[in-house]
Subunit: 329 residues, 4 copies
């Protein structure tokens, strides 16, 4: 039974709390949030002790693992305390907005051989697992293109957009992890095109809400990721991987299984956000790896790699050129 | 080049005229209709000579084949003239409303070894051909059930319903031919349930417009055919054949290939009547068989068999019992 | 918090135990099974006390509700004890193989005004709920046909088939409840056609494994239900309701959301049994009704009605005629 | 009745010949090809006179319109003769590989007010017509992204690739016309990424066979076009247009309408090339415009515009930067 300290009781933190509480091999030990009321709500629903201070958590010897789901600017300090304490950690993405800080903390975690899992949870969706397995099995032959379309249903609150680190770092980073995972190699170059089409207030922050990012891989594989902040017909997340011997494509899940035939044609209901279930699958993978003393994956370094792509994509946005990605430590 | 005499310039006759005109190995010789204006329109569009009388056609020696698409009550007399003239004939279904007359003319045609093709054109739709081939090839294993749903878009004019011979003989006869063709055997028993739900005027004629007919085959295979006279979302024609090793199912064709995603869900357009194209495929099969001196199929006897099923189904409607089908001549 | 006594710790009983344990407003009080080891396994997994005898349960005053999931021949006696104890009861279908016994116990339960819920759980599947709501809302206009295809993935063990009461009473009874629920009226007549195609051993028992049953309703609505015991491509359960103004159709759920495009075409995975989730929805509906002191639905009388249809269908199998259904007490 | 002179009796020329022969208001007058045998085959199948020389055609006064489907390097000279003769012309794309020559001939045609139609036939596919109409009608609100995936079934012969002007000019030019037509504005910038993945011999020519091209429009609309030269599952052509109020998406057409359910899942057949039918629709649009003395669209200038995008895309391939597109004459 793994006892968790949870830092951060916001949206992601609450989901992690529920998944830990429901997991047969895990339970909540401590919950800390700078907003004590939020932490209290999590404790009331899912158990664990309300920590009054971070120190209360770190001084406990009844903790086996840590989840970092607090605001991005607190991640690195918490990671350092976890490294010091030698506690396996599940850290939400992105690691930090400052890529130099990320590089240092990744080096420190690797130096300490601490298993740190970074929250690229889409890798654990059953359908994407199946696609990955088929690709590794050679079913598609050489991978030629990877085409992703991902649209949120509604934009996040503007307050969130302000501190998110920008659209490419906050949202597209999921796919900067996913595409190399499918391709089996890291991209060497990126080109980004972006627009602010959904909400002018996002543009006023200097950010974008609609983007098309092209990746080029050393083998010649090409990939394009379309991301948007709003879709009237519900969330959209489609992945299509095309190779010499075939193609794999996800199909959208609907909120019911009914066709309605009318005088005007045939209607289906709206798409639903099936990526939500990936939180539980990812937590399960983390718990399993820690219990089995296996390496965690995606690792903190995977988090850094995806961020380096996002950094290069941001530079491409500014320069309107393809930008090479430098993975050197 | 096969020169045709066409009897009947109504809806089916006009379609046959166009298909003959467009066929590389066929042309229209004569067109006759009791409604001379209708015959004139066909000649103007698709060629051939306007026959003033039926005798003008039969006395010609420039005719190689006959199409009978006139009203049902004229079929048997025309068939007899065609037999006498030794001319291969494409005859629309049903052969005659009086099954005893049908039996006699089938015997006469067989006695004369005249190739007479009966217009069960659905057999020639490419998708159904493919299904039939897979079944004959054993892909489904033993056939267990055949499930057909067929709904017209709109009911025919009441005048047509009056002379059609009733819903089961006029409409469902297509499937009384199709299901045995798939099953590879003739049904031994039929049960019919019918209602008048679409138009009370049809009920006033003593007819029905909605029916569920169950067939039982000697091997134990079961089949149900649902037919209806009106569907607000367009024509419906679905066939599903289930066997020990798999299932084949047709998918509905839409009038365009576009999905429209809206705030309310996803919309497709209406179904279209893809069975229309089977007229041309059937005519081509007839022409090919005549040119190659091969037996025609479906034959006049196939027409009789389907009608015997329809007769038994009508008896079942009256008696509310399963009725055995007697195929003896 | 509703404390349950559970009779029967087999397949259905275990599912009910889990759903009760997971329900926020319910818990297991006692578990009894003639097979004590089975009851022990349920208690170990989901809580409650292991009852050594039935009397131990009935003499407790710490029970608020009863679940009857034991073998069919024990249902009526257990129902009588529940009536005596005045305990709201969830009873698995069928109530008893002897319809006269069913009639008596239904009368007794109604006399006692005891809420008894009968386990026609499909009514609670979200998609079917949505369809039912749309129909009641008039979206389809007058209902003309209801077409159900339901195939198990694999036949049950022969031992089960021996005591099940026959295919129509065991399996098709679900749809004998469902179709009238959609149609808004009880059928007046039934015709059944059946075959033994899957396993000759089932035929040796005098039973069938493939059936087509036609229902006729007073309004003229027609319905056909196809049921089978084995499907190589996974479970099949499709419902199509056709009315004057449109059609509703369920779509099959697949075990993943991936299309695989290959040289031979496009492949999807197999169907999955989405009806499993209906157990939890049905239990939730029962708990909710008991807590709110609302009438339970489907009631014991609904169970009797469905059984009367099954009885008439069995008579139709024997007589090869349509059989009128007599609902009189 | 429009009498056509056809230059070029290769693949595209033969298709045009058949469509002209089948059109109720058009017929073939002359057919010329440098390969006389090819021209003879077309005349034998579809009528018209075999022209021994080009001069024979231009000196005739029995010609109403011209189709230019000969090799690309002959287009401009033929266009000049057509301008001189004042004959409305249907010209295959691309107009010429040298964009400066294209500019001059476009200016000459516009100066002469000659209707010249350029063969961007996809605009006339019924589905894309419907999508265009809905967009113009405002059904999608502001257009945010246009996402096209188009893959050939098999690469063209290497001989063709050698003279085609390169992948972007030969293949992707169709979409450089289509996307602005949907967007309602011309793109201001293009970025191209390309690889040679299908056939190294194409790479040896300095060409690519797989490309991802990003377009940016003045309004902020973004578009990405993926093109490839080979797809094992059949041709692929999918268009998805996403706007503030909804999305339109084409669905792939299959070579039959049958689902095959097996132990392994559900199979469909391969995609078919539905773009073929657009040849006839485009020719019909040209004939209709000439007869009605309406302006033709897409015009020669549309051909130039698409080519300017292709030129900029080729420059982007070389420079690895986004390239502005200059439409000035």
């Amino acid at each position: 039974m793994l006892r968790f300290a949870l830092f951060g009781a916001g949206r992601a933190g609450s989901i992690h709390a529920r998944n830990i509480a429901n997991h047969p091999n895990a339970e909540l030990g401590y919950v800390y949030d700078i907003d004590t009321a939020a932490a209290e709500r999590v404790v009331a629903s899912f158990g664990g002790h309300l920590a009054i201070s971070q120190e209360e958590v770190w001084s406990s010897d009844a903790i086996d693992a840590v989840v970092i789901a607090s605001s991005t600017d607190t991640h690195v300090d918490l990671l350092r305390r976890a490294i010091e304490a030698g506690l396996p950690t599940y850290c939400e993405k992105p690691i930090d907005k400052d890529v130099e800080r990320v590089k240092r903390v990744v080096a420190e975690a690797e130096e300490a051989s601490l298993p740190v899992f970074v929250g690229f949870r889409r890798r654990f969706m059953p359908d994407l697992q199946m696609m990955h397995k088929k690709i590794r099995n050679g079913d598609l032959g050489r991978i030629e293109t990877v085409n992703i379309v991902a649209r949120d249903h509604e934009p996040p609150p503007l307050e969130y957009a302000k501190v998110s680190g920008g659209f490419l770092l906050d949202k597209m980073i999921h796919y900067f992890d996913l595409v190399p995972w499918f391709a089996g190699e890291q991209p060497s170059e990126v080109f980004a095109a972006g627009s602010c089409l959904v909400d002018p207030a996002i543009g006023d922050l200097g950010d974008i809400d609609t983007a098309l990012v092209t990746l080029r891989f050393p083998s010649g594989t090409l990939s394009v990721i379309e991301n948007g902040r709003r879709s009237v017909y519900g969330v959209e997340e489609r992945i299509e991987i095309f190779g010499a011997d075939g193609m794999l494509q996800t199909t959208p899940p609907y909120d019911n299984q009914v066709f309605h035939y009318t005088e005007n044609g045939v209607e289906r209901s709206r798409h639903v956000d099936y990526a939500q279930e990936s939180f539980a699958h990812a937590m399960d993978a983390f718990i399993h790896a820690v219990e089995a003393s296996e390496p965690v994956s995606p690792s903190l370094r995977d988090g850094l790699r995806a961020q380096l792509i996002a950094e290069a994509a941001n530079e491409s946005l500014r320069t309107n050129k393809a930008v090479k990605i430098d993975y050197d430590p």
